[in-house]
């Protein structure tokens, strides 16, 4: 099975312009066929190229969950941390070396359940991290449990009668907390997504990009959307651009996915404030890689 999968990757090499960014010796990935993470990775790499950034200068940080496995497959420095804590590790990494460009890969459970506090505080600080949250509305890695973004009524292994929780609107959450860039697309919008990732990468501050993504294995199977295509079709049919949504009533927007860029409102970045303080108090930038020198 695995061999066959590996073969497919290799034969498709010419067709996939981004394969060069992968740790080839780690392929194939653990992702299920039809998973939305593949589309997200490609959109990320396209966004990276169009932002004229080099993966060599990127550090990827992640927590726990399917989405958090992304950094392990890409050829760059990568920190695969504990559940929910990626943003706090990334905060130290960024302050420790503000020259690094840091991207956090996370999921709905990782970012907004166990890691919710770190998410809002990073947004509040406006630290220069680009957080890509692959929201599949379910805990995939542990086998299909309800998450903070699972729609009310949706089925999960821990919501066998349908979810009775009110889901988070992640974009509203991070904007309220102070994010200076926030956008949402689905895996049915790979090009728009890559453009928004590019804009997020270029924002000198806290950027949050939500990717509404399919988990056919668990979410789809539980919720009568058994194939990846039926899920992507559902995303396409239910997505409404932010501009259009502005003129619609709350009732009409029920169950819809509002997509677009919601805020791009730069303000002073956190690690730069620490740099300014260092310059003021010591006459120099914060010291780089001092563990090898002092």
């Amino acid at each position: 099975m695995a061999e066959e999968k590996k073969q497919n990757f290799i034969t498709n090499e010419e067709k996939n312009p981004y394969i060069k960014y992968f740790r080839r010796d780690r392929l194939p990935t653990i992702f299920c066929s039809g998973c939305g993470i593949g589309i997200t990775i490609n959109s990320f790499l396209k966004g990276l190229e169009s932002a004229e950034m080099n993966l060599n200068n990127i550090s990827l940080v992640s927590g726990i969950g399917c989405s958090s496995r992304v950094p392990g497959y890409l050829k760059c420095d990568s920190l695969h941390t504990t559940h929910g804590r990626a943003i706090s590790f990334a905060t130290g990494l960024k302050i420790g070396n503000p020259d690094l460009n840091i991207v956090v890969f996370t999921g709905d459970g990782d970012a907004s359940a166990i890691g919710g506090n770190h998410l809002i505080h990073a947004a509040r600080r406006n630290i220069n991290l680009t957080v890509i949250c692959i929201n599949n509305n379910i805990y995939g890695m542990t086998g299909g449990q309800v998450s903070p973004t699972s729609p009310e009524g949706s089925l999960a292994t821990t919501a066998p009668y349908g979810s009775i929780d009110t889901p988070f609107n992640l974009i509203k959450l991070v904007i309220s907390a102070g994010a200076t860039f926030a956008g949402r697309w689905t895996t049915a919008h790979p090009l728009q997504l890559s453009k928004t990732i590019k804009n997020g990468l270029l924002n000198d501050g806290f950027s949050f990009i939500e990717v509404v993504s399919q988990c056919p294995t668990y979410y789809g199977r539980k919720n009568k959307l058994k194939t990846p295509t039926s899920m992507i079709k559902m995303f396409k049919e239910n997505s409404i651009n932010k501009r259009r949504a502005e003129n619609m009533s709350e009732k009409d927007l029920l169950g819809k996915i509002i997509v677009g860029e919601f805020v791009n409102n730069p303000r002073e970045e956190f690690s730069e404030k620490i740099e300014s303080l260092s310059i003021k108090e010591s006459g120099k930038n914060t010291i780089r890689k001092s563990a090898y020198k002092i």
Binding site: G72, S78, K94, G96, A291
Partner: protein
């Protein structure tokens, strides 16, 4: 040249950190450790360092691990409740071999307990607090001078062995003021950068002894750091029993095989003693006083002060236990290190616990009364 200062233990710790090369502190306020954060928030910017007050202790240690991989000697400080919150990420630092220092200024516990009072209830948490097999390094200061010296030593050990090091202090040592002497020239252990080509470098090489060199993020090594069981490349290898066994045994052995280099203890009056008192941290002050008074009254007692708590000074304890009748472990909990002493001493000598909880130091007279009961 030496400088003399009359300062609080927590200040001495923070000064020791800066001397050791600490240039990042991520923390969360908690009594009785907060003065460390306050000092560093003032003084790190003056040495081109960074201070960040995080949203909780989980993120505090997370930020410290991140900063360490950025190539910065990094630290956090807390007390029992915060130390509990840090445990999962301490395990991460263990398996990912991330050098860092955690200062735990212990207070009365469990739970919120006695925030402004002394305790020594976190000894076993420092050993076993995170899940799984690992060998921590923990050192325990008994004076303001030692709080400075041990913090410095903590950074050196952290860097040398690529492990998190816990400074197990307590409220008394953290808050009391004493005179300390600072040497101008201080030896620090500098992190070792790999010399190999990034293409062939194995960041988690299965070496017999010693510690792998550590690149930073941004150095071109494209290192993958994960809390999952990983192979020598750093790639997850969670289903291979051999990879798991090799990794965990290597992490444990890099500490255990270097016990002699790591462990530090202090003895006094042990040669002809019938009874030896074993203690550490602030309790050791009461113990030393009891021994002084006892000796002057002609009682043959000695004391053994553990500076290193973990790895436990097994050989040293075993050695002293062979020539005495009784050992009394003096600690401010209901008996933690006494179990380690029992594990080592077995039938060599009788073992007793002198335990004091409630937030006050053991009284030397009370310890002596315990000694007299055994005579």
């Amino acid at each position: 040249m030496t400088t003399e200062l009359f300062i609080q233990g927590n200040e001495a710790c923070a000064m020791g950190a800066i001397k050791a090369g600490c240039r990042f502190f991520g923390g969360y306020p908690i009594t009785p450790s907060t003065e460390i954060a306050e000092y560093l928030s003032t003084n790190l910017p003056k040495v081109s360092g960074s201070f960040v007050q995080m949203e909780d202790e989980i993120s505090a240690i997370g930020s410290v691990i991140g900063a360490s991989w950025a190539g910065i000697k990094s630290m956090t400080a807390t007390s029992g409740p915060g130390f509990s919150l840090m445990q999962e990420n301490i395990g991460f630092a263990m398996i990912s071999e991330t050098p860092l220092v955690i200062v735990d200024v212990q207070r009365g516990s469990p739970s919120t307990g006695q925030p402004t009072m002394v305790g020594q209830g976190d000894m076993m948490q420092a050993r076993w607090g995170s899940h799984g097999d690992y060998e921590p390094i923990a050192i325990s200061p008994s004076s303001v001078q030692e709080f400075f010296d041990f913090t410095l030593e903590g950074f050196n050990l952290a860097e040398k062995y690529r492990v998190p090091v816990v400074i197990l202090a307590d409220e008394i040592v953290g808050h009391m003021r004493e005179k300390i002497s600072l040497q101008n020239k201080i030896e620090t252990f500098k992190r070792v950068m790999p010399k190999e080509d990034p293409k062939t470098f194995l960041p988690f090489k299965n070496i017999e002894t010693g510690t792998n060199p550590m690149p930073s993020f941004g150095d071109g090594y494209n290192v993958h750091v994960t809390g999952l069981t990983h192979n020598e490349l750093g790639y997850p290898s969670t289903m291979n029993p051999e990879d798991h066994s090799n990794l965990v045994k290597r992490l444990v052995n890099k500490i255990l095989k270097n016990r002699k280099d790591i462990i530090s203890c202090e003895f006094k009056y042990c040669d002809d003693a019938d009874i030896i008192l074993i203690s550490y941290g602030a309790s050791a002050r009461s113990t030393m006083e009891a021994v002084k008074i006892g000796r002057s009254a002609g009682i043959k007692i000695g004391y053994f002060k553990m500076n290193t708590i973990w790895p436990f000074p097994e050989d040293e304890i075993d050695k002293i236990s062979k020539n005495v009748n009784d050992l009394i472990v003096v600690e401010m909990n209901l008996g933690q290190m006494v179990h380690e002493v029992e594990r080592i001493v077995k039938d060599n000598a009788r073992i007793h616990l002198f335990s004091e909880i409630g937030g006050t130091l053991p009284k030397p007279e009370d310890i002596l009364n315990k000694v007299r009961e055994l005579l």
